[in-house]
């Protein structure tokens, strides 16, 4: 488990002590790759300026953010929440309702409401987490689903949310050709924030505590980890980020209403993306969303007649899950590692037994 070694060996006593992140040269190479990735995202709308492409770009960034934030809690703690649509919807509704009551016209100022969506999500996340995190495993999954439905029904039934018609959001009068770009870069900023938060968690003592909870919660508690507090903080951080993504999504689409602000499919989709790329990794959910959102939109567009796209999408998914059960990134990592191990083995004639075998751990423990 190279990943564990990377994490400083804290969680795996048998791993040799290696400084975080490897040698300087390697660290620089990783840094370069991330910078290249970021640069590619930044120039993307300049290179592909067609509004259709940038629209898909905005949605993809929103999903990359959500999958990253979801994974920041689920991937590290081992808890699988299926109620993050609550935060997504609350972020959207906050933006819509504040804009409505302040009679905002729909310019750049609207983006200032996005962090407010995050704050509102936090306000919901605390009681939500306090209740749900008292349970584990399946029960936790179902409680998050139940809370999700309660919140969706509240959006339907409470007076101030304006019922089934939802709330209209003022649309800016920006020119059509570059309209999406503003949303794209706003979404990119929130994504950068999400990645930084998850990266920070991953590198911190807090992150190690989350991992300890994932490996064995009772043991972690025995070792002095304040498990309830750690889980709650992780849950709320994740909720805040998804809330901001929801704010941008709602502003971009131009309306919120209960079924789609609080969409059960959102949860399934985000979880799928994180699992697809590799749970508990930083690049995995990014990759998962980057591939799945455009593919799904593309399939819906191209093969919509007769629901063929459902069959293609489902089948594609089954193949990938069964071929790469731990997600694309960890599986690819193992593959590369094995090849390297073989090369090393050939070079110094060592017996294969000396190379640690790749352990398959629950919930994709590789934590790059």
């Amino acid at each position: 488990m190279s990943a564990r070694r990377e994490s400083g060996g804290a969680a795996s006593p048998d791993a040799p002590a290696v400084p975080l992140g490897g040698s300087g040269r390697r660290r620089a190479a990783i840094g370069t790759a991330w910078i290249a990735f970021a640069a590619a995202l930044i120039v993307f709308p300049v290179v592909f300026s067609n509004p259709t492409v940038t629209t898909i770009g905005v949605f993809t960034l929103v999903y990359m953010t959500s999958a990253t934030a979801w994974n920041g809690f689920a991937g590290f703690s081992g808890y699988v929440p299926l109620g993050h649509a609550v935060f997504f919807g609350v972020g959207g509704y906050t933006l819509a309702l504040v804009a409505l009551h302040l009679k905002m016209a729909g310019g750049y100022a609207m983006f200032a409401l996005v962090p407010l969506g995050g704050v509102a999500a936090a306000v919901i996340a605390v009681p939500f987490g306090l209740i749900a995190l008292r349970t584990r495993r399946h029960t936790f999954v179902v409680i998050t689903i139940a809370v999700f439905f309660i919140v969706q029904l509240l959006a339907f039934n409470l007076g101030f949310t304006q019922g089934s018609s939802g709330v209209q959001i003022p649309t800016p009068l920006w020119t059509a050709a570059t309209f999406n770009d503003r949303f794209y870069y706003a979404a990119l900023i929130v994504l950068a924030l999400a990645v930084l938060v998850v990266w920070g968690i991953r590198r911190s003592r807090f992150g190690l505590q989350l991992l300890a909870i994932r490996d064995d919660e009772d043991r972690a508690r025995g070792l002095g980890v304040k498990v309830q507090r750690v889980k709650l903080v992780g849950f709320v951080l994740s909720g805040v980020t998804v809330g901001m993504a929801g704010g941008i999504y709602a502003f971009f689409v131009g309306q919120v209403y209960p079924q789609f602000a609080f969409d059960p499919l959102f949860d399934v989709t985000v979880a799928l993306m994180a699992f697809f790329g590799g749970l508990g990794t930083i690049s995995g959910p990014l990759l998962g969303a980057l591939l799945l959102e455009p593919i799904q939109q593309y399939l819906t567009l191209q093969y919509s007649v007769g629901s063929l796209y459902l069959i293609i999408y489902g089948a594609l998914f089954l193949v990938v899950i069964l071929a790469m059960p731990r997600g694309v990134i960890p599986t690819a990592g193992e593959y590369l590692q094995m090849r390297r191990a073989r090369r090393v083995e050939r070079a110094d004639g060592r017996s294969p037994a000396a190379t640690p075998s790749v352990e398959v751990a629950p919930l994709g423990r590789a934590s790059r």
Binding site: T135, R136, R137, I145, I150, A271, S307
Partner: protein
């Protein structure tokens, strides 16, 4: 008002029986295999469509048709288990099963949309719109028949689990897969058959659902969250729990809908679920010892 509430309780008990039937398979699969089968909703609809086809094209009575549709779904279940579920690794089976069964369900949804179009259909038979008058209340035949059938099937399932050798292996696997394997139980075979049975019983639930609701493939989305809620409330792997939870849920919802307001009925149910699970995380009839993570 008083008699309306009694009527609502009757409705809740009768429809609860049907939901119990749909949930029984889910809880069995859940318990034996640690699998969250989100495809259960679409299996219900598949069962409903099969009954519908037999009734429309071959004139076979929906209840009689179960002799065909139950085995058919058993085969489907075996196929899905053999094709996908058994390929999941032991450790992350639960989480991955959500993804795999979701993928399976959208494939089936696509196939159903193509085969049956998206127009809503409903299963018809002479007893579907009729009711028997009893003590001042009308009891719809379809629900009465459905409830009786649910009871029979649940008893049969119970007998299978507690009175047969196969049942003993299933229960052993329910408690501890590794230990079961050590005492020589073919856990894989038990899993496959349990999955098959779990899917097969939905054929019966699906038939009654299809006779009491107009449906198309998308209807499955409304079903699955309720079914999940029922099995968790009842306690994983507990048939009796599923029955009690289903009846409790439907009665609560129906009474709230009548006495207060339909728009709050579902919210009240989910709130009750959250409260119960906060106090008893393993559900009403689940074993309270938390299994190792």
């Amino acid at each position: 008002m008083g008699s309306s509430i009694v009527q609502a309780i009757i409705d809740g008990v009768l429809t609860g029986g049907v939901y119990a039937l749909m949930a029984a398979g889910l809880t069995l699969i859940f318990g034996v295999m640690d699998i969250i089968n989100v495809a259960q909703g679409i299996f219900v609809i598949l069962g409903a469509y099969l009954s519908y086809s037999l009734s429309v094209h071959a004139g076979i009575d929906p209840f009689l048709g179960l002799l065909i549709t139950i085995p058919a779904l058993f085969v489907v279940g075996i196929g899905v288990e053999w094709g996908f579920m058994r390929r999941l690794k032991e450790g992350d089976r639960t989480a991955m099963s959500i993804l795999v069964t979701y993928a399976v369900s959208i494939v089936i949804e696509g196939v159903l949309n193509i085969s049956f179009t998206v127009n809503y259909v409903q299963i018809h038979a002479w007893y579907v719109n009729r009711s028997v008058h009893l003590l001042g209340f009308y009891l719809p035949y379809i629900y009465v028949f459905g409830f009786v059938m649910a009871a029979v099937l649940l008893i049969a399932l119970y007998a299978l689990l507690y009175r047969t050798r196969f049942g003993a292996s299933v229960r052993a696997s329910l408690q501890d897969r590794t230990a079961a394997r050590l005492v020589g139980i073919d856990v894989r075979r038990v899993s496959t058959i349990s999955f098959g049975i779990g899917v097969a019983v939905t054929a019966a639930g699906g038939m009654v659902f299809g006779a009491t609701n107009a449906f198309n493939a998308s209807t499955s989305y409304d079903l699955i969250s309720r079914l999940l809620a029922i099995v968790i409330l009842g306690g994983l792997g507990s048939m009796g729990g599923a029955l009690v939870a289903a009846v409790f849920m439907l009665v609560l919802e129906d009474v709230v809908a009548v006495a207060w307001s339909p728009i709050w009925a579902t919210a009240v149910f989910f709130a009750a679920l959250v409260v119960v699970l906060s106090i008893r995380p393993a559900g009403l009839f689940g074993r309270q010892v938390a299994r190792a993570q």
